[in-house]
Subunit: 458 residues, 2 copies
């Protein structure tokens, strides 16, 4: 793992260089776990923040501000003296040369490593329909959430201004694709928003008449939470006024409509101006780059198979953790990323202490939590399935504890607790830049259709 | 004021229609003052939020989120039953037909009025150098503040990544143009940020080495606050490390530099990548449209002269309030806008009650407040000039009282108080959309230079 002539037992040794790709849960927890290790850590990410992805839907629906779920990574890790952060986009990994190539402010840099932890995560997959991305924003980044925030609040504004009743109804129809935690939470929050938070805000429309439709391809929503939770989550959503359709696949969409194929084979096209894509994930392209070099294949979600210790086959100096890692029994959720990131860091430390061999990664299942509505959540902890208010309280405690771990502010706790409990939507700003950027991107897209040679920067 | 056949004394009277243009301080306070009047109010604004402009600098420097200073106007006024809000951009006012023409979601609408209150405010003026807008963002909207937030935090990132020392210094040089409250507050906060908030965040630069330069064209900063306050504000800024230059005019700028002419006539060009424009204001173009129709001229700042009751000469049914109004003794600040907006509303109510004549507007000077640094503010209340910690406490009380007036949240107060007192910068997210929009606008600008015919939507 240590290159020739270096290492903890060498004479006046150069410090062992650990490069971590990604400041998500996997990367951040790996970095933190190395804070007292005799190593130099370089953390590379293309954004300036860590993202608390499980609360992204709260930014998209106006409850929390972007800063509240995305603290600056430099600030979170400022006291870690053995660590440097590079704001750069990783282009490639060279397993032979043991280097990472990245684009930092339009300059190509090469970062050598002795140990590498790849936690590059996943992004939205439209299952081969990349054109859907124009109509349905994903839910993986702050940009996604702010884009959706503008679209959701903008849809009510458009409906209010619309004289044609059919078009008004189309503006008041929201489609959420995907019945996992993110899709369920988004559908629940859009329903809450329209039925409660926006009350008395409009004069020509009744926001509570909005239709919120959730399409899930599988047999039930929140399938990994157990049958009991699935059923009760569905009931709560339906009480909120969400129309839940399982066994329903989105086959086409454009600015104005969505086409859906149902389990019985029949197809429907409905008028819906606002779509949220919470259905598919695909691993970072770095997974392919790693797999190629070891002569392996990525799995269906683009993830890389690893050895039981989370290392890349044939490359004990490279760990793949978090959502990019394919390892039996580890779900692609925050907890799995944290634990695998920490495991990789501990294995590097053990190696540097001269301990022999590798320990396999044991995922400790702390359960799964999803919020269905205000005061209602479902949780699965081992064999237990907890729902309703109890589930929600559990969710609240876990998330507040967790978030305040990053923050150093007395008021934050009160602020979050009240935001979570209240129905107020404090963050409703639609920026002009957002609207202009959308127009420019749309104009560019239309221009490109005419002229395939057109260049984004042209 | 009431058109033929309508009015409060007609048979089965149509309600008197009040149209208000602008949801800033003038428009919002006019609308609120009319909540019990027997009128139908239509409030038109092109944004979906009221903007608490005096705290805009806190969004630009990462202290508050956009939602905290820009509540949705619909939410603020949701309980006002006699009011409707149109999200639309006003294109013109026809004083003869008594109509307002506006663009609402790309449709042209015509809104008739019986009484009109124009509170369309001001925007940034570059004193005839519109090309400066590409390099120096103004400080008038949420978009401006978010743009500056990205540029300021991005400048430290660029400096950290920059191998060339001279360029690194240019990234760490911040120029603020304009020594009014906004310029002083921005300069103070950028200095606080670099000297304290970003401590330990970087490895290749020392953010406290950043230069913050404030250029003011006049003889002293914060001139309207009195000589004593001007001097003490300058002293506090200099203690914070801000270089303050009075009698200094910015004559040119580009992406990398700023050219300044000093009082003694000599000219200097300094390397500074980040510029803030807090110097000039010019009234909305609607001022010109109004002046034209009454055969008058706008003043040097584009403002419209009004009669002592705030009405447009020859048009008692039209009031011009806030920053767009030119009336002796009323400063272009929030307080003047609130009071004049309220005055216009009260005059309309008096007229509808059948009271004769008009009362002149008396501006009650509640003083002026500007924050120089954390715990230091200057205030001028009548003849009193208050500085230091006492001034700051006064500022805190006024602003928190005021902000919580819009909000209905227990936690907000604690949150703000702590944000104001702490050094933490919770809101540091740089969005990708922001960066892409900037690149596209830049590319477009460069394209346009080559091809004057190029179209933004092309």
């Amino acid at each position: 793992m240590a290159p020739d002539g270096e290492g903890p037992d060498g004479k006046r040794p150069a410090r062992h260089r650990v490069v971590i790709i990604g400041s998500g849960f996997g990367g951040l927890f790996a970095a933190k776990a190395l804070r007292r290790a005799p190593v130099d850590v370089t953390l590379i990410d293309r954004t300036n923040h860590h993202l608390f992805q499980p609360l992204l839907y709260q930014v998209a629906t106006g409850i929390l501000s972007e800063g509240e779920i995305a603290p600056a990574t430099r600030d979170v890790l400022r006291r870690q003296r053995n660590l440097e952060i590079l704001l750069a986009e990783v282009d490639d990994i060279d397993l032979t040369a043991r280097t990472v190539a990245a684009n930092q402010m339009d300059r190509t840099i090469t970062v050598p490593y002795d140990s590498l932890i790849v936690s590059a995560g996943v992004h939205t997959s439209y299952f081969g329909h990349d054109e859907f991305s124009h109509y349905a924003a994903g839910m993986k980044s702050i940009d996604d959430a702010l884009e959706l925030r503008g679209r959701i609040f903008g849809a009510f504004e458009s409906a209010e201004a619309e004289p044609d009743e059919a078009v008004q109804r189309a503006w008041l129809t929201f489609v959420v694709v995907g019945g996992g935690p993110t899709g369920v939470e988004m559908a629940g929050q859009i329903a809450e928003l329209s039925h409660h938070s926006l009350r008395r805000n409009f004069r020509h429309i009744d926001p509570s008449q909005a239709r919120v439709i959730l399409y899930e391809g599988g047999e039930e929503i929140l399938a990994p939470f157990g049958r009991h939770n699935s059923k009760s989550a569905r009931k709560v959503l339906e009480q909120l006024g969400v129309e839940v359709h399982c066994g329903a696949f989105v086959t086409d969409m454009d600015d104005e409509t969505v086409e859906v194929r149902f389990a019985d084979g029949h197809t429907e096209r409905i008028e819906a101006r606002t779509k949220v894509w919470a259905a598919g994930m695909t691993a970072s392209f770095l997974g392919h780059r790693l797999a190629e070099q070891i002569g392996a294949q990525v799995d269906r979600q683009g993830r890389v198979g690893v050895l039981p210790d989370c290392s890349l086959p044939g490359h004990p100096e490279v760990f793949v953790v978090g959502d990019l890692m394919a390892l039996d029994g580890v779900p692609g959720m925050a907890e799995g990323a944290m634990q695998s990131g920490r495991h990789a860091a501990h294995e590097i430390e053990r190696h540097l202490r001269g301990e022999e061999g590798r320990r396999p990664f044991h995922y400790v299942d702390l359960g799964q939590l999803a919020v269905v509505s205000r005061f209602r959540a479902v949780a699965k902890i081992g064999w237990f399935q907890i729902g309703g208010v109890l589930g929600w309280l559990l969710w609240l405690v876990v998330h507040i504890t967790f978030l305040t771990g990053f923050k150093n502010r007395l008021g934050a706790l009160a602020h979050w607790a009240i935001s979570f409990m209240g129905r107020n939507r404090a963050e409703r700003v639609i920026t002009e830049q957002q609207v202009i950027a959308r127009q420019m991107i749309k104009a560019h897209r239309e221009g490109s259709a005419d002229d395939e040679e057109a260049d984004l920067a042209g």
